[in-house]
Symmetry: C2
């Protein structure tokens, strides 16, 4: 995955968004991933380290190797991890399709928000599998933009979300990948594939999620593609503004916002 194909870009705001996302979703997505002390873990596609900090924090005795294709992201990831006082992570620049590790190097592999950006996620899983020891586990977490539900419902907001799907597809990715994890991981040769959907449900009785998820994670992510959407003529400026306003509207007193992540675990 070349750096310029990452749909969300590499802006400062995007870095903040990823951190916000990890912070508000930590419990929901990560609470049940704890690796034993001494186990060797590969985090494939660590990006700026938003998940790395959580992963390493939850498994302080594990020996974690985190790779990413982007040197710039890796620098940010290293900085985050250092600032958090974490010492059990080694970073390495690497392409997920050309992995520089001997077979059976790891007890566990972890990927979060990575497959959605790849043109051939099944091939990536196929390249990762030999790196696992027999009986080792893989854990994959992905979103699915098609799971987005909100009240009040709004056609412009739905269209804005659809633009995200369209742009990611144009870049060779798939932002509807969450629902596909079961066949993808099965076809890649793993066994005991188990999928656990995790819905982020937000209404005004959950103010931290209204801020942390509806506004700062999801709507900020959609807003981040605004310039590209207008440039490509996918929506008019007026439609776009109405769509974004409608997404913020769901964060009001009587609004509701839902999004589902899918967490998969499987065994070699």
């Amino acid at each position: 995955m070349a750096e310029h194909t990452y749909v969300h870009g590499y802006s400062t705001r995007e870095s903040e968004r990823l951190s916000d996302q990890a912070e508000t979703l930590t419990d929901l997505l990560h609470h049940d991933t704890r690796y034993p002390a001494g186990s060797r873990v590969l985090e494939a596609g660590c990006g700026i380290g938003a998940q790395t900090v959580i992963l390493a924090g939850n498994s302080p005795g594990a020996i974690i190797t985190s790779i990413d294709i982007s040197e710039e992201s890796l620098r940010k990831a290293e900085q985050s991890v250092r600032q958090a006082g974490i010492t059990n992570v080694t970073f390495r620049q690497a392409d997920i399709f050309h992995l520089p590790f001997p077979p059976a190097s790891f007890d566990h592999i972890f990927l979060c928000f990575v497959l959605e950006h790849l043109a051939d996620p099944e091939q990536a899983l196929g390249r990762l599998r030999p790196l696992l020891k027999e009986g080792g586990t893989i854990t994959v977490i992905e979103g699915d933009h098609g799971s987005t539900l909100f009240h009040p419902d709004n056609a412009f907001a739905r269209k804005a979300v659809q633009c995200l799907v369209t742009l990611q597809r144009q870049m060779g990715g798939n932002s509807l990948i969450g629902r596909e994890l079961y066949p993808l991981i099965s076809y890649a040769g793993f066994r005991d594939v188990h999928i656990s959907p995790r819905m982020v449900y937000v209404d005004s009785s959950r103010p931290a999620l209204v801020e942390g998820f509806t506004k700062l994670t999801f709507t900020a992510m959609v807003e981040g593609i605004g310039a590209t959407v207008l440039e490509k003529g996918l929506m008019t400026r007026e439609e776009w503004d109405r769509g974004i306003a409608a997404l913020y509207r769901t964060a009001e007193e009587d609004g509701v916002f839902c999004y589902t992540f899918f967490k998969a675990t499987a065994r070699k």
Copy 2:
């Protein structure tokens, strides 16, 4: 709600579908609803008793009154309850908008798959509220057809599901009501409103749900409106057949099907 406005009709197959639905969804939807012995419970809109049997089975000491507007449904409900050997339910024909009970008659109120069929669900909740004792609870379970996700994705299947939404709206109902429970119940004057989304996630590692939910509950429900869809020209015969085939396709080895119910609890 007049009998003829019930979108799914009153056929034998529909009766079977509702029973299938309740059987496969029992744990997911009902496991956390248990009323104390001696408490008075109103089930509003019991239909043919698919939920009544579960409700009464889970709360064998509660004194349950189940109402419905349809005499025919009530007869089936009574029969189901009798066959299950349940003795703590009294049935009564009544309109949810004109309830024949004095104020503060009940400790708890329970509604499952009822509000979606009403033109004014907030008014119904407003009529129910005075029947609760101070501090009594209301529990509401509803689906949301907009939450339907499947793999392989298919435009005709999505269009077929959308027909269900359209027809239910034409009859004055709202099959996207699940996401709206928080504001609806809040506006009706209840407090401590808590929403718990319950996704039914189905892949081929869960064969009972493939049969019981994807095929016998959801796809059967969509198939049930086929004649009306064709009659009203909402889809052509070919489109419809392709949509239904695509829904069945999601029940194959590599298919995935997801649907989310929303369960609300609140207090007077």
